[in-house]
C-alpha cells in the first residue's frame, strides 16, 4: 500500500468526522428545542438533565395555540411574508430587468448604489421609515410591515434578478418580437419562464427574510392586530418568568414549517442563487 493510498481513506474519515461534528453542533439546539417542547414544566430543569421527556406532553402546544396570540401572529407572518415576496418580485424584476437589458449612462453605478442599501444598519433606517409609514397611515398594519421589510429584501434581490436576466440571451426576446410580440410579451412569454427557478428562489429568500425579522416587526406592529410570530414569541417571557416549554413549542411551530418548505424547494433555491453567477 502506497503512502498516498493510505492517506486517501484517512482524509475521507477525517472529513466525515469533521462533518459529523459540524452536523451535531448545528442540529443539537434544534433537537433540544423539539424535545423540550414536549416536556412538562418540572422536567425542563430537572437534575440530572435528560434529553428526552420522561412524560411526553402536548400541554405546551395547547398553551401556544389556545392561550397566546401566536396563532394570529402566525397568520400575520404568513400574510406579511407573502406580501413581501410578491412585492419584492414585482419591484426587483422590473429594476433587475432594466439594469440588465437597458444600456444607459451610469447603469452600473445605479446597480452598485442599490446594493449600498444592504450595508445600512436597520437601526439607522428605523426612524425615517417609521415616519414614512406613519404618514401613509400604515402603522400597525401588515401592509405597513411588508413595506418596511422591502428595505431588507429589495437591494439583494434586485442584484440576484439582474444577474439572472443578464444570463438569458437577449436574442430569445428579439425572436419573440420578430414573431409579432411586444416587449411585454417577450418578457412574459420568454424571459419569465426561463428565469422562473431564479425568481422562485428570490421569492423564497424574501419570504424567509420577512419571516424571521424582529426589529421592524417589534416597532411597526404596535398592537396584536399586526404582530408577527417572532415578536409574539417574546410574550412567553414576562418580566420575571420565562415559560420555556411554551417558548420551545412556539419555536418549533415557527421554524419547522419553514424548514419543510425549504427542504422541498431547496433545489430551486440553490439553482436560482447560482444561475447567472458567472455573468454580471
Amino acid at each position: 500500500m502506497t503512502r498516498s493510498m493510505f492517506r486517501r481513506p484517512l482524509f475521507a474519515v477525517l472529513t466525515w468526522v469533521a462533518l459529523a461534528v459540524v452536523l451535531v453542533w448545528t442540529l443539537w439546539p434544534i433537537v433540544l428545542m423539539i424535545f423540550t417542547s414536549f416536556k412538562p414544566g418540572n422536567e425542563i430543569f430537572a437534575i440530572p438533565p435528560t434529553l428526552t421527556p420522561k412524560h411526553w406532553t402536548l400541554d405546551n402546544y395547547t398553551s401556544v395555540f389556545t392561550e397566546s396570540s401566536m396563532p394570529h401572529a402566525l397568520v400575520n407572518s404568513i400574510v406579511v411574508g407573502l406580501l413581501v415576496a410578491a412585492a419584492t418580485l414585482i419591484f426587483c424584476f422590473s429594476a433587475g430587468y432594466a439594469l440588465a437589458r437597458f444600456k444607459f449612462k451610469g447603469a452600473r453605478s445605479v446597480a452598485l448604489f442599490i446594493l449600498v442599501g444592504q450595508l445600512v444598519p436597520l437601526t439607522v433606517l428605523l426612524l425615517p421609515l417609521y415616519q414614512m409609514v406613519n404618514k401613509l397611515q400604515l402603522l400597525d398594519t401588515t401592509i405597513g410591515l411588508a413595506f418596511v421589510h422591502l428595505t431588507i429584501t429589495v437591494p439583494l434581490v434586485t442584484w440576484m434578478i439582474r444577474n439572472q436576466i443578464a444570463a438569458i440571451p437577449i436574442s430569445l426576446e428579439e425572436a419573440a418580437e420578430i414573431d409579432g410580440g411586444s416587449r411585454f410579451d417577450a418578457v412574459s412569454y420568454v424571459t419569465l419562464p426561463i428565469a422562473a427557478p431564479g425568481l422562485a428562489a428570490a421569492g423564497m429568500f424574501a419570504f424567509l427574510q420577512s419571516w424571521h425579522e424582529f426589529l421592524f416587526a417589534s416597532v411597526f406592529a404596535t398592537s396584536e392586530s399586526a404582530r408577527t410570530a417572532p415578536v409574539a414569541l417574546t410574550e412567553f417571557a414576562t418580566e420575571y418568568h420565562v415559560d420555556w416549554g411554551s417558548t420551545m413549542a412556539a419555536s418549533v411551530v415557527l421554524t419547522v414549517p419553514v424548514v419543510i418548505v425549504f427542504i422541498a424547494l431547496q433545489r430551486y433555491l440553490i439553482g436560482g442563487l447560482t444561475s447567472g453567477a458567472v455573468k454580471g
Binding site: 428605523l126 412574459s188 415578536v231 417574546t234 417571557a237 420575571y240 420565562v242
Partner: protein, 415 residues
C-alpha cells in the same frame, strides 16, 4: 397592437397589488380621521395586563366620557417601540415605562409636565425618598412612578443549616466566607446574572461600588477608583475562585432563580418576585438585608412609571388616567414588587415574611438607581469588563482603570 393573455394577466396582477395597497391607505386614513378625541391610548406591559384591564373598567365607569384603548407591550420590545414613537412624535397618550429610560425622554423634551398631578391627594412626599426627584428637571416632574423595588439577599435555609451557617451574612467578608462554605460539587455559593440584560449585572456592580465611596448625584454615578476595584474584586474573583457558579456566564435573573429553586445556588442578590415565587412553592427560603463592607449594604431602587408624551393627542385624558392609576390602592393592586407610594405599602400583600427584609432594604438602605443616559450608554462596557475579570483575562485593577477611563470620557470624571 394586441396584448397577449399572459401579459394581460401579469399586468392585472400588478394592478391588483397596487390598488390593494392604495385601498388600505385610504381606509386607514378615513378610519383615523373619524377617531374619537375621547379615547386615551395606553401602552401597558404584558405583566400588568390583567389587573390593568380591571382598573381601566373602573376608570371608565368613573369617567363615562372617556374610553381607554390598551395596547400590550412586552419587556423585549417596549424600549425600542417607545423610543421610536416618541422620536417620531407619534406616541400614545400614556405609556408604562422604565424609570431608568425616562430621563432620556425628559432630556429630549418629549414628555408632558405632570407637576400639576402632585396635589393633596397625591403628594410628592408620599413617594419613596428621592423618587420623584429623579423624574424632575428644573422643578417640573414629568412622570408618575408606580412601582419600586430593590434587591436583597435571598438564601436557602436548608443549605445554610447543612453548611453550619446560623445567620445570613451581614458583611462582604461574611458573604464570601459563607459562599465558600456553601459551595460543593453540586451547589454554588452564589451566582451573578452575566447573561441577558447587561444592566442586571451592572446594577449589582454599582450596588457594591456605592457601598465603598461611589455616589449618585442627580442621576449620574460618580465613581472612585478604589470602590470600583473593590466591587470588581468581589464579583470577578467569586467566579475565578469558584464560589460563584461558572454558569453565571449563561445566566440571567430568571436562570439564577431557577437554579436556586433546584437547590443549586445557596444565596444570591435578587428581587422580591424571586422570594415570593420560592415562598409560594414552600421552598426553604430566607431573605435578609444585602451585606455591605461592614454592615447593611445599600441597594439601588429601580422601577416603572407612567409617562405622558408631550405630543399626546388626549393630554387631559392621559393626565386623568395617570392620576387615577397613582391612587395608593390602584398602585398596590397593579405592582408586582413594591408600590412607589409609601401609603400604598400598608396593603397586606407587602407585609409577608419574605417581604419584610425588602421593605426594610427599601426604607432604610436604598437609593434611586442612576438614570443619566450617559451611564446607560456606558453599561455594555462595564458589563463586558466584569465578564473579562470573571474570565480571568483582566485583573480587577486593570478593569477598574478601564472603567474609570470610560467614566472620565462619558460622565465627566471621577469624584
Amino acid at each position: 397592437m394586441t396584448i397577449r393573455p399572459r401579459t394581460t394577466a401579469l399586468l392585472a396582477a400588478v394592478a391588483v397589488v397596487v390598488l390593494g395597497v392604495v385601498g388600505v391607505i385610504v381606509f386607514n386614513t378615513t378610519r383615523s380621521s373619524t377617531d374619537s378625541s375621547n379615547t386615551v391610548t395606553w401602552w401597558v406591559p404584558d405583566w400588568d395586563w390583567d389587573v390593568a384591564t380591571t382598573l381601566v373598567q373602573q376608570f371608565e365607569s368613573e369617567n363615562p366620557s372617556l374610553h381607554v384603548e390598551m395596547v400590550k407591550t412586552t419587556g423585549a420590545t417596549v424600549a425600542n417601540k417607545v423610543s421610536v414613537a416618541l422620536d417620531a412624535g407619534n406616541a400614545p397618550d400614556l405609556v408604562t415605562e422604565s424609570i431608568a429610560r425616562t430621563k432620556t425622554y425628559i432630556g429630549k423634551g418629549q414628555l408632558a409636565d405632570l407637576t400639576s398631578l402632585y396635589d393633596d391627594k397625591m403628594p410628592a412626599s408620599d413617594f419613596a425618598p428621592g423618587l420623584t426627584d429623579t423624574l424632575s428637571v428644573d422643578g417640573k416632574t414629568y412622570a408618575v412612578p408606580y412601582r419600586w423595588a430593590t434587591n436583597a439577599l435571598i438564601y436557602n435555609t436548608e443549605l445554610f443549616a447543612k453548611a453550619g451557617i446560623t445567620t445570613p451574612p451581614t458583611t462582604w467578608a461574611e458573604f464570601i466566607a459563607d459562599a465558600k462554605k456553601l459551595t460543593t460539587s453540586t451547589v454554588a455559593g452564589t451566582a451573578w446574572p452575566m447573561q441577558g440584560d447587561p444592566s442586571d449585572l451592572t446594577l449589582r456592580f454599582l450596588d457594591f461600588a456605592l457601598q465603598n465611596g461611589t455616589t449618585i448625584e442627580n442621576g449620574t454615578p460618580k465613581f472612585t477608583a478604589d470602590s470600583v476595584q473593590q466591587a470588581l474584586q468581589l464579583m470577578g474573583t467569586s467566579v475565578t475562585e469558584g464560589y460563584a457558579t461558572k454558569s453565571s456566564f449563561e445566566l440571567d435573573n430568571t436562570g439564577i432563580r431557577d437554579l436556586f429553586l433546584q437547590g443549586r445556588v445557596g444565596m444570591y442578590l435578587g428581587g422580591v418576585f424571586d422570594a415570593d415565587t420560592a415562598a409560594k412553592q414552600n421552598f426553604p427560603v430566607g431573605t435578609a438585608i444585602a451585606p455591605g463592607p461592614s454592615g447593611p449594604g445599600v441597594q439601588e431602587g429601580v422601577g416603572w412609571t407612567y409617562i405622558v408624551p408631550a405630543k399626546a393627542e388626549n393630554l387631559d385624558g392621559a393626565k386623568k388616567l395617570a392620576s387615577f392609576l397613582g391612587r395608593p390602592e390602584n398602585m398596590a393592586s397593579l405592582t408586582l414588587t413594591f408600590p412607589a407610594r409609601v401609603s400604598a405599602t400598608q396593603d397586606a400583600k407587602f407585609q409577608t415574611d419574605v417581604r419584610k427584609a425588602y421593605g426594610e432594604q427599601l426604607a432604610k438602605h436604598s437609593i434611586p438607581a442612576p438614570n443619566d443616559p450617559r451611564w446607560t450608554a456606558m453599561i455594555p462596557f462595564v458589563h463586558d469588563t466584569i465578564q473579562e475579570i470573571a474570565l480571568g483575562s483582566k485583573s480587577p485593577q486593570e478593569g477598574a482603570s478601564a472603567i474609570m477611563a470610560q467614566a472620565e470620557k462619558n460622565l465627566g470624571g471621577a469624584k
